[in-house]
Symmetry: C2
Subunit: 320 residues, 2 copies
């Protein structure tokens, strides 16, 4: 097994490229594919203030590392979700990465700063854990970018993630979501620009990248995500990819090329942007289309009566 | 396990309806679902001349039987594909069904009437067997309907078939195919109206229908279709359906409702139909957009030098 680039001994095969790579050229492939994505979708510009959402997993550490390697200045943001040991350990990986490189890592913690954690808060709010977690992350990431005056918020979504989300949206023909499932969303209404520079790399690629770069990351999957539909879509796509290497890439990139436009919200003929009425949340000031934003509503319900441990409960007013 | 309708002992569960049925009410369910589909999509009208493509498998015998039960007058058309015992046996099932009921079954045979069979012809023409088979069936079914002056051509495509085709089209974002993947295609340019009244029933439903109605059908799958991508899409959808009963139905019917229009070929603003230039094939007279239709091209290549057995070959001119 020889490296496609230098013909030296290869350490990894990449079936969808029908090629093998040595360590050096695999790492370069990952950086080149990321740089290509950033350029293709005009994700980032030199000198911009960039914030990356860091979980301590392979994807977020890989993208932070790659962006630094590519010469960007990037701060990190970590949100503690309160999912037991899983969250404690993920925080350590994120902090260690930042500390060893002298990078800035901002942190927030749902329980400390908002009075609930994902397992108990979602139960109290009668919301699926993954749904409450996703809403909390979106809100806190957006807020951190807005309050920190960052130009762009980077997330580590990879090709497997995006293809699985696309599969879910397609299986239900969620036309509104399909219209917005893009690797870059422009800043608007107080929300930061959001970019996903890893959409050309798979989970296996980012795991191999971390391994070969010597980056320690949290290998465990989230313990409460088991049974999540997203995971069954990933499994279905993995079966298809096994029979047809490159199927996931084609599914996602041909969607962007051939279909995404067809689901975009209709624009008026004069070219003016359709602006949904957006005003600050009366509680936290985040841009939203109701009086109180979805995260503050969740927080209110989640902190009404949260059983913390052994039946103890506490009430807590909403803090933004 | 009790029948949802009469509370008598049930013989089958239908998970996507979250219900069980006795024999009588399951058969009625199948007929009602088919009648609903025919009405919803204006597939057939009373007094029309209807032709059903019959393979001898569960789907085509079920739809022929259901249409007769619903009061339609329907003739059958069987095409011999020359796939060894599989084809011989399937012909017997089709003929027996027709004979026992005094129904008309027209037959054609690829080897007898066109000089090639699917296994050898596809090899000679350097075309995948399933592709050569599909093209041959479309052509011969269309021709039988046209020459027999039938108003509509019925096929036994079920929900599993249509969902799997949709999955293939979506995985590759075949926008042209997506624009045409409808349960009814209007007659145009000399092609008959084509309708798929079984799209609300699954493979399991049609198999159970045949079993409970005492219809003998060919159970074996086509021996040369193994490895066909279509089958891996079916497997992926079955995995998803297992986790989420009703997922296939939602995938297909929400596509029709929410997305199919977005892939339809653009129509001129004055509402006039876009007419691709269509003229008769100079060889067989079928409507086509080239001088010679795709089936006659296939026939020419397939009969150039077909090794029939033990290396014997023969040449044969194209016969329409």
């Amino acid at each position: 097994m020889k490296c496609r680039v230098c013909r030296g001994p290869a350490v990894i095969d990449v079936r969808r490229h029908n090629a093998n790579f040595c360590k050096q050229h695999f790492l370069r492939l990952c950086r080149d594919q990321t740089a290509k994505t950033i350029k293709q979708f005009s994700m980032l510009s030199e000198g911009e203030r960039i914030l990356v959402a860091v979980s301590g997993g392979k994807d977020s550490l890989a993208i932070w590392d790659i962006l630094i390697e590519l010469g960007y200045e990037v701060d990190g943001f970590y949100l503690g979700l309160g999912i037991g040991d899983y969250s404690d350990t993920s925080a350590e990986y994120a902090q260690r990465f930042a500390k060893e490189r002298g990078l800035t890592l901002h942190t927030k913690d749902l329980l400390r700063d908002h009075g609930f954690d994902v397992p108990n808060g979602s139960r109290a709010a009668k919301r699926a854990p993954c749904s409450a977690c996703g809403l909390s992350k979106r809100h806190c990431f957006d807020e951190a970018a807005r309050l920190g005056a960052y130009d762009a918020l980077v997330t580590g979504h990879n090709l497997d993630d995006e293809a699985a989300v696309l599969m879910g949206n397609v299986l239900h023909w969620q036309t509104e979501y399909l219209g917005r499932q893009l690797p870059v969303l422009a800043a608007q209404h107080g929300f930061p620009r959001k970019v996903k520079p890893l959409v050309r790399l798979t989970e296996r690629d980012t795991a191999a990248y971390c391994l070969l770069r010597g980056l320690d990351y949290l290998v465990d999957e989230c313990p409460i995500a088991a049974g999540n539909k997203h995971l069954s879509y990933k499994a279905a796509l993995n079966d298809i990819e096994r029979d047809s290497p490159g199927a996931k890439h084609a599914f996602y990139f041909r969607f962007l090329d051939q279909a995404a436009d067809r689901f975009a919200t209709a624009q008026p003929e004069d070219g003016a942007e359709v602006v949904a009425p957006v005003s600050p949340c009366t509680n936290c000031g985040a841009p939203c289309s109701n009086e109180v934003c979805a995260f503050c509503s969740l927080t209110m319900r989640a902190t009404e009566a949260v059983p913390i441990e052994m039946g103890a409960t506490r009430r807590r007013k909403v803090s933004p």
